[in-house]
Symmetry: D2
């Protein structure tokens, strides 16, 4: 990820809507054809009805004709001055959108720290479409 | 909504990811500055982890700097050959993104039938940000 | 609802887990055979992964053999010193568990104020199982 | 887990409400004081509004005064004739209810196969309450 791209992603944090937790998160999902989709978290007065940045980015791609399992990278950053791990619900959705060998890249706010994971490391086992078709 | 726009919205149904229910839904949200955001439903092998079209459209707008309460119209269409009402979870999110006098417009697949609602008609009472701040 | 029952429901507010919003909610769902199921809200560090009181009450009944569409009353109370309306996501779930002519009863914390709604009033139209089967 | 308890858990599968996927799941969560809470999955015509068995079991405990972080075991079984892993959204909720060294025990329908995981194995990193308070 180039410096310019990092700046763009961090700038997206300004758009997150987090009046309750004050925790702002931004995500950038990149597919195999290098299409880029950004997302930020959006909280709701009824807390469970909000959505995280990672899912906002991924779900926004579907209407553009992106297919499941074609994302090769997702970058995540927050305003917490440290690396923030994605929640389990986002990991479930990621496992549907990401290639098997895709990278999940967690950045600290200043981009000085970085951790990289595979999907299998983030959600070992997981619930796959094969499980449900298997019935 | 012009004929051309209707065609575009209906065409989005092709992109919905609904391998389980086969029910495809598309939504178009338009804000006060006439910015347009499209969304389609996306199901998940773990059913509760999917997302509806209406929420996909609205949540996708946040990273583009759109503010809460500024949408004036949301159009909804499905492949069910009839008008499909939005689920309660989508109505909760709509109530956050839509202006007080915004229109929720439900279309049949062929656009021959149409029903228009206000937010208060769709989610009488509702949970508003004021409720939570009031505490 | 008798005084004693009101006291029991209000006492449940103590058990709600709401460290983030401080808004505590309790619900009591009663089915046609007078089975009673209580629920309180439970927040999560990842806000969208929490659950509201109304859904906690209803979902808890399924493992006890309760069938869909058999609840005749649901009572809702919060610590907000006023009537709190259920969120849209809870209304969606209620519409599945409640009888057509069931009552949704919203109470103020001191039980002095009370509002009663039908499901159709709370979620006009709605998404029903017939909609999906219809496909 | 004794044979009798296994029979009871498997019997709960009958109560799962899964008219769409036909995949029935049951869960048993046991806290440090040996309190037992059962749950089954409950699907909704609006798919994202359903709830999984694991979360149904855990959320049902809150109104009974159970505290976060006190569960020591959760057992999961389905009708799929194999071990089914919990979805990411359930893992997120489990991480809030389970002790650090709790066991997540996945059973095949006939109980002949069994896999045991820790929370850290199921949701490495995770989003914890400390992350959010840290802000």
């Amino acid at each position: 990820m180039e410096l310019k791209e990092k700046e763009i992603l961090r700038k997206k944090l300004d758009y997150a809507y987090a009046p309750y937790s004050k925790v702002k998160v931004a995500a950038l999902a990149i597919d195999a054809k290098c299409n880029k989709f950004y997302g930020v978290n959006c909280e709701n007065a009824a807390y469970p009805s909000g959505l995280c940045a990672e899912r906002a980015a991924l779900f926004s791609s579907v209407v553009h004709g992106i297919e499941m399992g074609t994302f090769k990278e997702i970058h995540i950053i927050s305003n917490l001055n440290k690396i923030l791990y994605p929640c389990g619900a986002c990991r479930q959705v990621m496992s549907q959108f990401l290639e098997n060998d895709a990278k999940i890249i967690l950045h600290s706010t200043d981009f000085l720290e970085e951790k990289v994971f595979t999907m299998e490391e983030m959600l070992p086992g997981g619930v796959k479409s094969e499980d449900i078709i298997a019935k």
